[in-house]
């Protein structure tokens, strides 16, 4: 399982018909990566290409279409890539290996057994409460602004955010937002309240301020008494699923 942050992307180019022992090289590489528990790897067949032999390989050129290029890609942590590279270097006798720095944004596994919860942990300490005042009708790139802000905060792994809808109010633009009795009004006041540790305040404010066109951000000091499931450790995530 990969975690967010810096990672390495490895791309290997080989020929489809290059063999290694009793198998094709590309499937030998894939099996090696799976054996080493790499998070995931993909073998792709490009439609045409040429390599150091300066021969264009494409289905039209190849009578049986079997000397085509194959590209294998995978993303892993820098340590894991360092561990794998010597073997890959030895395996690829005719081809190319490329490593580039990348940034993992999300690596989610659907349907995997849920990670067992560790007992509740209490996180105590000074924190900030940030309240963001905006209108329900405010939009950013065609989507409701409050949703865009919550999604952004979620991606930043901010501890939590709650959206409240008011029934009446006015703000900078001095027009009154009011709930109508028999109509689903869609321009009511909205407040998003966010609590996280003081160390993250500036990062959150910068992100929110850049999204707001008109609005108010209110910051207050709070004391956090937070009961959470403590975050699972990397060992727990990597442990094989129990046999069922």
């Amino acid at each position: 399982m990969l975690s967010r942050g810096a990672a390495k992307k490895v791309t290997i180019y080989v020929n489809e018909d290059t063999r290694r022992h009793m198998d094709t090289l590309w499937s030998a590489i894939l099996r090696f990566l799976r054996h080493k528990r790499v998070a995931g790897a993909t073998a792709l067949r490009p439609i045409a290409g040429f390599g150091s032999h300066e021969v264009i390989h494409s289905p039209g050129e190849e009578v049986r279409g079997e000397h085509m290029p194959v590209r294998i890609e995978f993303i892993e942590s820098a340590e894991k890539v360092d561990e794998l590279l010597p073997t890959l270097y030895e395996m690829v006798e005719d081809g190319l290996i490329e490593v580039q720095d990348t940034h993992m944004v999300k690596a989610a596994v659907k349907g995997r057994n849920p990670v067992p919860h560790t007992p509740h942990a209490e996180i105590k300490g000074p924190a900030k409460m940030i309240r963001i005042f905006l209108g329900e009708a405010d939009r950013l790139n065609g989507e409701p602004l409050f949703e865009a802000i919550v999604k952004r905060l979620m991606m930043m792994e901010v501890a939590g955010a709650t959206v409240y809808r008011g029934i009446l109010g006015y703000g900078a633009k001095r027009h009154t937002h009011k709930e109508a009795r028999f109509r689903i009004s869609s321009d009511l006041p909205i407040v998003i309240s966010v609590v996280d540790t003081s160390s993250r305040t500036e990062e959150i404010l910068d992100a929110v301020a850049s999204m707001l066109q008109d609005g108010l951000i209110v910051i207050s000091e709070v004391e956090a008494h937070r009961f959470t499931h403590s975050l699972p450790t990397q060992e727990v995530i990597n442990a094989p699923a129990p046999a069922s």
Partner: protein, 112 residues
Amino acid sequence: MLPRQPAKLLHLHFSEEDRYDNVPLHEAIAKTCLDLGIAGMTVFRGLEGYGESAALHRRRVLARDQPIVVTIVESPENIDKLMARIGKMLGAGITAISDVETIRIQNGAIQK
């Protein structure tokens, strides 16, 4: 660090049933805020709650008697001015004031 202004955050808690001059109290307060030139205010309706009368305020079949919270962020002077006007309008209920810092954004620009 984004520029911030010190301000006061005022919370008024009362019931949706409360009235002043035959209009719902929260609407009367909204009007007073506009008259006084208060920068903004927001009214929230809670789902359920109880307060000084120890009776549960909740939505009933025909009547709405849910808790109401009014939030106002303003300078200390304007909060004092407002409290002088609405103090007598509030019957039972609670008023809480806390110190906050604010960032105001208008037309995409942060107000200094």
